[in-house]
Structures are given as structure tokens and as C-alpha cells.
Symmetry: C2
Subunit: 429 residues, 2 copies
């Protein structure tokens, strides 16, 4: 907890959170009927305000960094927390990109006529009120707020306490833009305290005022959310992604896809963590793949067969097949064909993203058909597991659950629907 | 708890339930790849077996009825529990109808090509393992089992203890048909005990082996499920449905739609519970509507204005606007136009189904657009809130939540999807 954050007296926290929930519910009713233009205008205006207030935002960020440094924050966490002019411009651009997305609301996604003449339409509507719980990444404050607003949802944001001042400065731009557009300021609310028990209340649903929780962050955050939430959760636990190099793979393509899947960025959930390679092609293909990975700075941990093919490869333990490194480390296993690869992925995968590299179409179709991860690729990098790469615009995360949303969660996945039925006086026999 | 049910020793209940969960998970992996023909064949075969074993099923039902009578079961509950030859034939027919539905699986529901050449498909897959908790209605054992199997899901059924023997006899037909078709018998499992703590374990998700819970039953069952479930729930709490007779309504159509919405069947969730009628047309339209309702046996409870227009109408209290009667009772309120009707429904409705009767298209569009219930109708009876009437075939219930499914839940709503991406060696820049 950030000692410099404004504390809310403990006895009023519950009341404060309930008020937030009711305000969000009321705002969501207004947002559901607000025009696309007004929702979009807020985002463009907020981007302008972010740029105009960059100095204030950087000053707020400096306060957060100072407190973090005093506490001895890790390098990776500090980097996520750090803002500079370029990053603020990036946040502003992201708001403009979300503004430019097609309106997800109001669309008739299906329509049919019944034999009795009733015309039934399925029409997109917002989900309602979304609670977003995230770690100390100031940019998520803008991204998540914008994605929810674009999809007509009110949102309650609860960011990590380390980014308290930065998030508040960014949030202020969003609120000013909402007010300027005549939309409720409560459309995008921040939990006004870093007290951790506020999270518990948000997860309990604030007496029916929260429709869904979206956690963004590491495994322990998401596990806690899934354990304690009394409302539906859209989240992902792990991205233990596999690349499988089939005997029918082109050597160069296999090398390029493996290298990109692992090393383009190692810290994202779509990064590959395990390479499976067929015993038939491993002697020819694994050494050049390993060389390319090592040249890029990747450590390798192999099973016995892999270690026999590549000099100085560290031996993998059973735990490696279950480890999401999120780092420049790759587990390597030699498998005896497609069935063994599928069996390995079923046993150890997290249902996120897997890719097969092969020129054998039948093998690829079996891989795509028999596995059941959210995203299955043929001859493409696992790093395409991303809402932007799918053409959805920005995403709020990748869902590994099977309910409502699966894979990248963009504005369309933040909607629900209603049925509109038009008749001419029909009664049911 | 039914004393004659086979008890499972308390110390092994947890192990028993976990075994059920693991068996269901394993069966679901087989089902996800089973052909449509094999899933369909099981349902047709099970219908045949139900008819052939009708005598056994009736004997099992007689045991349930005898126990229920000793405990002094209510008339409505006894009727739901009762089987006869005609009802068994109805259950068999329902299985055949579900078998005849189009296969919900494997369909490519969306497909697009990215600028980099990646071709992305969204493909329907089963949800996985569904837990269904229901009251003592033997037919649900067959319906729910069949809907899950048709959609490629394994299911764990937990019916009310009063229908224990009847459900087991019906379940035996399903299992025999599964085995005959070479599909896992564990595709459709019944919790093998009437011990209530089994429900708690099912709701906890059996260590990740249950993907979604579908409760079917009264308010207290569903409230308990929503409170205790650690996995997503698809359910509906209440059907507090409204018919709004707008000033622009045709008199005969208004009478017919109101009468049908209330009285066709009063015990279903799509039955209307409150009539709102415009003050402009109430003097002319309410008396004939009230007369028709009374002639059909409906009691009326009106606000002051309604009572002034219809002789001997009982006065409604504030509680009436919030009451799902599920009986031949209708609350009646005179409102001053569309905005008042919308405000009333927003305040008191349960988000299930509402209908407007009017010849005024603009008023109808505002009603359909501004309200946000799962189903909104114009000039049609609320009793059309039904999967069969929507053309979905059988339904497992009507969802009033906003996540995943909303409105009638048929086989399509019991599916998830995965993304299949085909490339030519693309890597992400």
C-alpha cells in the first residue's frame, strides 16, 4: 500500500464502495443510450487532454516512482510503472485508436422470422458495469477505461497501489472529457483508496451493481479474483503456449516461427514456453533452431533426446513442462509424432495458444481440430495471440475461460445482447 | 432427503464427487471429437429404450410418489413428479426432437483474412462439463442430459431427491444408449447420492472439472447456486414480466395479448405478472381486458386509478409490483405514457421479458430500444419467451444474466468457440 495515498476511514469503506457501485449502475443506464458520437468524442477529447497535461502526469508518475524506489521495486515492475513523453503519447494514440473502432453497440447480429410471423432480432447491448482489477501499469487506466466506454459500459477501476498518482492523473483526463461531453463522470470511476479490502467488496459485486470482473495481471492476482469473485470473471490464468514442429515442417519456416514465438517479446502471454519437435526431423531441424534461439539470447532446457542433439543444453525437469517462464527460456521436448504432441499439449497446456509448423495439411487439420485451446495456429507465430493482430483493435486481455469470451477480449467481447421481437398481435397457442 | 436412496458413506462423498468430475472431464474430451451421428444416435436410441422400459420407469415413479405422499407433498410438486404413459412418451419425443436439431458443433461462425494473410476462423466447440442442478422433475433428467449430449458436453446431473428413483430409471436408458453407441457412459452422470453436501462440491467445481453450472428451479435454489458457485452460472432468478398497453393499442389485440401473456400458462417464467396501461386508453380498454381475465379465472390487484375503472378490483400494495405470482393473479397499474411505463419496468422488472401493445411504431421502437430486458416484444405475448418458440428447439431455461447466454438457452448457447488461424509462416513484427 502506498503510504502517500489518501486513506478512506475504514468504517466508511463499505459505504464508499456501494456508492461507487450505485453510481456506476446509474451511469451505465445513461451510457447504454448514449450516441456513438458522444462516446467516441470523449475518447478523442481525453487523448487531447492527456497530451496537454503531460507535465502533470509525469510529475504524478515521479511521485509514484520515488515511493517505489524507496521500497526497492524490481526492474521489470519499475519499467511497467515508468511514464515518459513517448509513453504518454502512446497512451493518447491508443485512446484515439479505440475511438476509431467500429461501434460495437446496436448491431443486429442475427435476424430470423418464425412461421407465425414473429420477426426476432439479436441486438448488441453493453454488458453493464465492469470491474477491472489490475497491477501497477498506468496505461491500463486509460486503455481499460476507454474500452469499457467504447462498448457502452460503466467501469470501476482498481489499479495497483504503486501507480496511484499516475493513474489518478490519467483518470482525471478521462473524467474531464466525460463531463465536457455531458456524459456522467461516474462512467469511469477509480476506487478512491488503496485499501486492499476494497478489492474484496468489488469482487462481491457491490450488491448487484457489478456485472463482470476483468482481472489484468499475474497469476496470483487472477487466482485470488477467481476464488473470491461472486460475479462472473473474464480472465486468463496462464499462457503456457506451445510450438510443435511436425516432421513435415519447412526448416526455415520452423526456425523463424519458433524464434518469433519465443523471442519477439518474452513477457507476453502469447509467448511460446515449450517447443515440441518430431523425432523424425529433430536431428536436422533442432540444431539450427537452437542456434538461432541462443543467438537471440534464449536459454534452452531439453529432454534427453533434445540434449543429445544440441550441445550444452540444460536438462529439463518435469516442472519445466508446466512453467510459464515469461522470460528468455524455452523448454524443448522431442516427440514421436502428432499424437504425442497433442497428448503433451493436452496434459501440460493452459488452453491459451498453440501452433503447428508443417507442410502436411492433414496433420495440421488434426492439430487444429483435436486440440481445444482458445487459439490454434498453423504455420504462424504464437505471438499473433493478440486482439490487435486479430483485427479487433485494442484488447483488454486474452480469456482462457470457456464462458462468454475466449481468446482476445476487445470491445465486442465486452457486450451482451437482447432479443427484440416484432409481431402483429400474435398469441401463443 | 429420500430415506430410501442409496447412501454414500460421508467420508467418501468428496472422493466420489471428484471421481465424477474427472470422469466427466475425460468423457468430454471424447465427446468433443465424437461425430454428430454418434451423438444423435444415442438420443434416438435412448427414446426407444424409454418407451420399452416404460413399465420399469412407472414402477420407479410409484416408489417416488409413495415416499412423497408419506411426506405430504404439495399438489403442484406432486404433479411435477408424476409420470404416466403419456408423459413418458412426451419425454421420448423430446429426445427425438433434440436429436433432430442441427448440429451446433464445428460450425465456422465467423471468418476473416488479415492484411498479413492470416485466415482466422471462429469455430464452435462444446463448453466442456456442465453441472445441472434441478428440482424433482424427472423429465429434466432426460431433457438436460440430451441437450448437453447434443452440444457435445459431458454433464453431471443433480436432481431433486423426491424424483430419485424416477430419474435413475430414466438415466439408465441414457447410459445404455451411450454404451450401445460406444460413447463413454460417463458422458451423462447422475450424482449417486441424495446427500445435499454433494451440491456444494459440485458448485465448487470439483477441482476444475466443471466449466459451468446451470440451475433449473425456484428462486431459493438459484439464489443458493449463485451464492455458492465457484464456477460460472447460467441461470435466471425471476421472470417478472410486463405487458404495457400503450395509448395507441388496438383494443382487441391488447385484450388478447394480455390474456394470453397472463393466462395461457401461469406457472412459467414468461407469464406476465404486471399489466401497465396508459391513462389515456385505460377507461376504454381496461374494463374489457379485466372482464376477459376474470372470465379466465384471473384475480386482479390494481392501483387506485385501475380500481376506479374496474369494479371490485383488489388494491395492489407496493409489494405487488415486485411479486412473481406464477399464478392466476395480475397486478394492474395505470401509467401516464411511455416514459412512466419504461420507468416502472426499470424499477420493478427482473430483466426477463416485456411486451408493448401499440399501433404507434415510434413508441414501440423506443420501448424496444430503451429497455434492456433479455426479450422485448412488440404486439406479441410474453409467453413466446421460450426456446422452442424462438426456433431453437428445446431449451434448458431462460437466462437473465448478461454473460455468455441471455434469453432462451438451447444447444447453441451450451457451446463455446475456438479460433483457428491458418498461415504460411507469418511471424509478428
Amino acid at each position: 500500500m502506498n503510504a502517500s495515498a489518501t486513506p478512506v476511514p475504514a468504517e466508511s469503506l463499505e459505504a464508499t464502495m456501494l456508492r461507487l457501485g450505485r453510481q456506476a449502475r446509474a451511469a451505465s443506464a445513461v451510457l447504454a443510450l448514449a450516441s456513438e458520437q458522444s462516446r467516441t468524442r470523449v475518447l478523442v477529447d481525453a487523448a487531447r487532454r492527456l497530451r496537454a497535461r503531460a507535465t502533470d502526469i509525469l510529475a504524478a508518475n515521479a511521485r509514484d516512482l520515488e515511493a517505489a524506489d524507496q521500497r526497492g521495486i524490481s526492474g521489470a515492475m519499475r519499467d511497467r510503472l515508468l511514464l515518459d513523453e513517448a509513453r504518454i503519447e502512446g497512451i493518447a494514440l491508443a485512446l484515439e485508436q479505440i475511438a476509431a473502432l467500429p461501434d460495437p453497440l446496436g448491431r443486429v447480429t442475427e435476424e430470423w422470422t418464425r412461421p407465425n410471423g414473429l420477426v426476432i432480432q439479436r441486438v448488441r447491448v453493453p454488458l453493464g458495469v465492469i470491474g477491472i482489477i489490475y497491477e501497477s501499469r498506468p496505461n491500463v487506466t486509460a486503455d481499460a477505461g476507454a474500452l469499457c466506454l467504447k462498448s457502452g459500459n460503466a467501469v470501476i477501476l482498481r489499479g495497483g497501489s504503486e501507480s496511484w498518482h499516475s493513474s489518478r492523473a490519467i483518470h482525471a483526463c478521462l473524467v474531464a472529457a466525460l463531463e465536457h461531453a455531458g456524459l456522467p463522470a461516474e462512467s469511469i470511476q477509480m476506487v478512491p483508496t488503496t485499501d486492499r479490502s476494497a478489492v474484496g467488496q468489488l469482487l462481491a459485486g457491490l450488491e448487484g451493481c457489478v456485472d463482470v470482473i476483468v482481472p489484468r495481471g499475474g497469476k496470483s492476482l487472477i487466482a485470488r479474483v477467481q476464488q473470491d469473485a461472486r460475479v462472473p470473471v473474464i480472465g486468463h490464468l496462464e499462457g503456457l503456449c506451445h510450438v510443435y514442429v511436425h516432421a513435415g515442417a519447412d526448416a526455415d519456416m520452423a526456425r523463424d516461427v519458433v524464434l518469433n514465438s519465443k523471442m519477439r517479446r518474452t513477457g507476453i502471454c502469447g509467448a511460446a514456453e515449450t517447443l515440441l519437435i518430431d523425432s523424425a526431423c529433430a536431428p536436422a531441424l533442432l540444431p539450427p533452431i537452437a542456434a538461432a534461439l541462443r543467438a537471440a539470447g534464449c536459454a534452452l532446457r531439453g529432454d534427453e533426446a533434445a540434449c543429445a542433439l544440441v550441445a550444452d543444453m540444460a536438462p529439463a525437469s518435469a516442472a519445466d513442462w508446466r512453467t510459464e517462464y515469461l522470460d528468455a527460456i524455452l523448454a524443448v521436448r522431442v516427440v514421436d509424432g502428432l499424437d504425442a504432441a497433442i497428448a503433451h499439449i493436452r496434459e501440460y497446456g493452459s488452453g491459451h495458444t498453440e501452433s503447428i509448423v508443417t507442410g502436411d495439411g492433414a496433420a495440421a487439420e488434426r492439430f487444429l481440430g483435436e486440440l481445444d485451446s482458445a487459439i490454434l495456429l498453423h504455420n504462424a507465430s504464437t505471438q499473433f495471440a493478440d486482439g490487435g493482430e486479430f483485427g479487433m483493435g485494442a484488447e483488454i486481455g486474452i480469456a482462457t475461460g470457456r464462458i462468454h469470451a475466449r481468446g482476445p477480449v476487445g470491445v465486442e467481447q465486452l457486450t451482451s445482447f437482447k432479443y427484440v421481437v416484432r409481431g402483429a398481435g400474435q398469441t401463443r397457442p
